[in-house]
């Protein structure tokens, strides 16, 4: 009998629910029963309520079972799951699970499908097709392709990637750098982590294309220390890619060098801000730099530097492989392509949903998420990480695109969506936003450093009803100062969650609607 291929994910979120124990038991039990098994540790498909999601390759396609606990393994084998047999945990053909079938997986097309560290698997699934095309183009043509695709920075700021690349390309310097910001600190986001753990060659390929485009020979990936599995997988992928000639002194025989290293952060949220990250990479405290000069002109070690988020770089190989027009065919207005939305918090079916821009929060929460995990009504949804606004139900039909969200004083950020049910206390969450800013502020500018601490105190007074109307006015005034006077998004966006909580849920602050108007 031929060995049956079985997939057990190695994603952190799977490991955190005993995927290793499931894999070990499966091997042991198959050995005991004399069944031949080819075990592949794939990335996650991103349906986290089903993790560990075990898949079996059958002639009809891959069949999914989940969530599989170690104690389910013997029963699954009894039920003949190696040939796709019936079992209460059977989810059917993976590709036909509605949650996956309804997505538009461009960047995440390989996620959970391939072995993350197999170059052969990667190339069998369109991997390195983008780099091969880039190798026959000159730098201007690569930059032009990225510009035309409309790709904007996926870290949160949504700045057009092609413009950054063009600036770095046009600057003369002996040494240029390509730096990937993988300091994914936003609560509710994990798409960078999934990429590093589940499809690291895609990031390496994207960064290599950037290096060819701008003439950089060195690159760094700055990964947060909270992601040890991601660091380990990426380091191994770099080793494999270097050994195969995709990195190193002579990338694919092109005569161009590109060396890539991983650097680990150390638990500072503000190091996700690009200039603080550069300081950290240079070995200093992660203090935000004033701009100008732009990092594209004077970035890492004072040299011209392309800085993009993991998902931005990861989007590039497909843009090169299939052309800018293909990518631009997805999305709405100036929000081109797809965004991996990440459903998190109190949601029944939490996971990664890659869709073109323009769908609505309501579709994500109900059609994909299936409502709250607790079964209670959803009260508030924080979009775009800890610096993103709380979006009330009345705004759930606004299309998810950069401009529409900016117009309502919110931001898509890195695509994190954190759901809270009706037990959430919005005054407490607003206080937490200020507290988080106080803990994580780099301390360089006053509005952020002092404002956040004063913000905690003022919210405490509002909640205690200590001269409430005056304190509400003070909080708004303080938020105004932080919004307009902070050096970076840390202090500059902390007012988003605070003010949206105050505006949309005044009752949680002890305010009635008229008080809100008076304030």
């Amino acid at each position: 009998m031929n060995a049956v291929t079985v997939y057990v994910p190695r994603d952190s979120a799977s490991l955190a629910v005993d995927a290793d124990a499931v894999a070990d038991l499966l091997m042991a039990e198959c050995a005991r029963r004399g069944l031949a098994l080819n075990l592949v540790r794939n990335g996650s498909r991103g349906m986290f309520w089903l993790e560990p999601l075990v898949e079996v390759a059958t002639p009809q396609g891959r069949v999914a079972y989940g969530p599989v606990a170690p104690e389910d393994v013997a029963g699954l084998l009894d039920a003949g799951f190696l040939s796709g047999g019936e079992h209460p945990l059977r989810q059917g053909l993976t590709e036909q699970i509605p949650y996956l079938a309804r997505q538009e997986r461009l960047t995440f097309a390989r996620m959970g499908v391939t072995d993350p560290l197999s170059l052969a698997d990667y190339q069998a699934h369109e991997g390195y097709a983008g780099l091969r095309r880039a190798l026959v183009l000159d730098g201007d043509a690569i930059v032009s392709e990225v510009l035309q695709s409309g790709l904007r920075g996926r870290g949160g700021a949504a700045f057009p990637a092609g413009i950054k690349w063009k600036t770095v390309r046009g600057t003369q310097a002996a040494q240029k750098y390509v730096v990937c910001n993988a300091d994914e600190g936003d609560s509710g986001t994990y798409s960078d982590r999934m990429t590093l753990e589940g499809d690291p060659f895609m990031l390496i390929e994207g960064m290599t294309i950037a290096a060819l485009a701008v003439g950089a020979t060195r690159g760094y990936v700055y990964v947060r220390s909270e992601y040890p599995h991601a660091v380990a997988t990426l380091r191994e992928a770099i080793r494999v890619a270097t050994a195969a000639g995709f990195l190193g002194d002579d990338v694919c025989g092109s005569g161009q060098a590109f060396h890539l290293d991983v650097r680990m952060g150390a638990g500072s949220y503000v190091c996700g801000e690009e200039t603080a990250m550069l300081e950290s990479l240079e070995g200093r405290r992660g203090i935000v730099r004033a701009k100008p000069p732009l990092p594209a002109l004077q970035g890492l070690f004072g040299q011209p530097t392309v800085i993009n988020n993991v998902i931005t770089f990861a989007s590039v190989p497909l843009i090169l492989a299939r052309g800018a027009a293909f990518y631009k065919g997805y999305g709405v207005g100036r929000s081109c392509g797809t965004l991996p939305f990440q459903l998190a918090g109190n949601i029944k079916q939490g996971g990664l949903v890659e869709k073109a821009f323009g769908l609505t929060l309501r579709e994500l929460l109900h059609d994909f998420g299936g409502g709250s995990a607790s079964g209670r009504p959803i009260k508030a949804v924080q979009v775009g990480g800890p610096l993103g606004a709380y979006v009330p139900a009345s705004k759930w039909d606004v299309p998810l695109d950069y401009e529409a969200y900016a117009a309502m004083g919110a931001a898509l950020g890195h695509g994190g969506i954190v759901v809270h049910d009706d037990t959430a206390d919005m005054a407490k969450l607003a206080r937490y936003s200020m507290e988080f800013c106080a803990i994580e502020s780099c301390g360089k500018c006053t509005p952020c450093r002092i404002g956040s601490t004063r913000g905690v105190e003022v919210i405490d007074k509002i909640v205690r009803n200590q001269n409430r109307p005056q304190q509400v006015k003070l909080l708004r005034d303080l938020c105004d100062t932080m919004l307009h006077g902070s050096l970076c998004a840390m202090g500059g966006m902390t007012p988003f969650p605070v003010l949206s909580a105050l505006d949309h849920y005044p009752q949680d602050f002890g305010l009635a609607a008229p008080d809100r108007k008076a304030a």
Binding site: S12, S187, T189, G267, R285, A344, P386, E440
Partner: protein, 157 residues
Amino acid sequence: MALSDSTTALGAVLAKWAQEPGGLLPALHEAQELLGWIPPDAVAEIATAFNLSRAEVHGVITYYHHFRSQPAGRHVVQVCRAEACQAMGADALLAHAERRLGCEVHASSADGRYTLEPAFCLGLCASSPSVRVGGRLHARLTPEKFDRVIAALEGVQ
């Protein structure tokens, strides 16, 4: 590890990183990996190797939450306090952890067995609440599951 061994090992770490551009953070990571924390003696040695003042090295160590200026308990327990975990009961889980481990957050238990810390996002936001104990991640935690994780640690001691 005997003191002389760890001193030699630290010397090797510093020799590896001191000439590397931006080598201070990787050196601190490896030093902490080696020693469990970054003691004052090591600060002096690191400063000398990098041609920095002790104040500069101290400034970097204390800026980052990850680096320790005090030794930790045998097991470091980190409970995620970020929004996605809060939405699924992280505050109650943290309070439970304080009772179970016998120490407050940011402190160690009297017997030196546990250090309890907050984490701000472990990236398991769709499987919240989550905890890291030593090098292991645990998601979809309840107080009961938390107790089982801790009991398993005590079983292997």
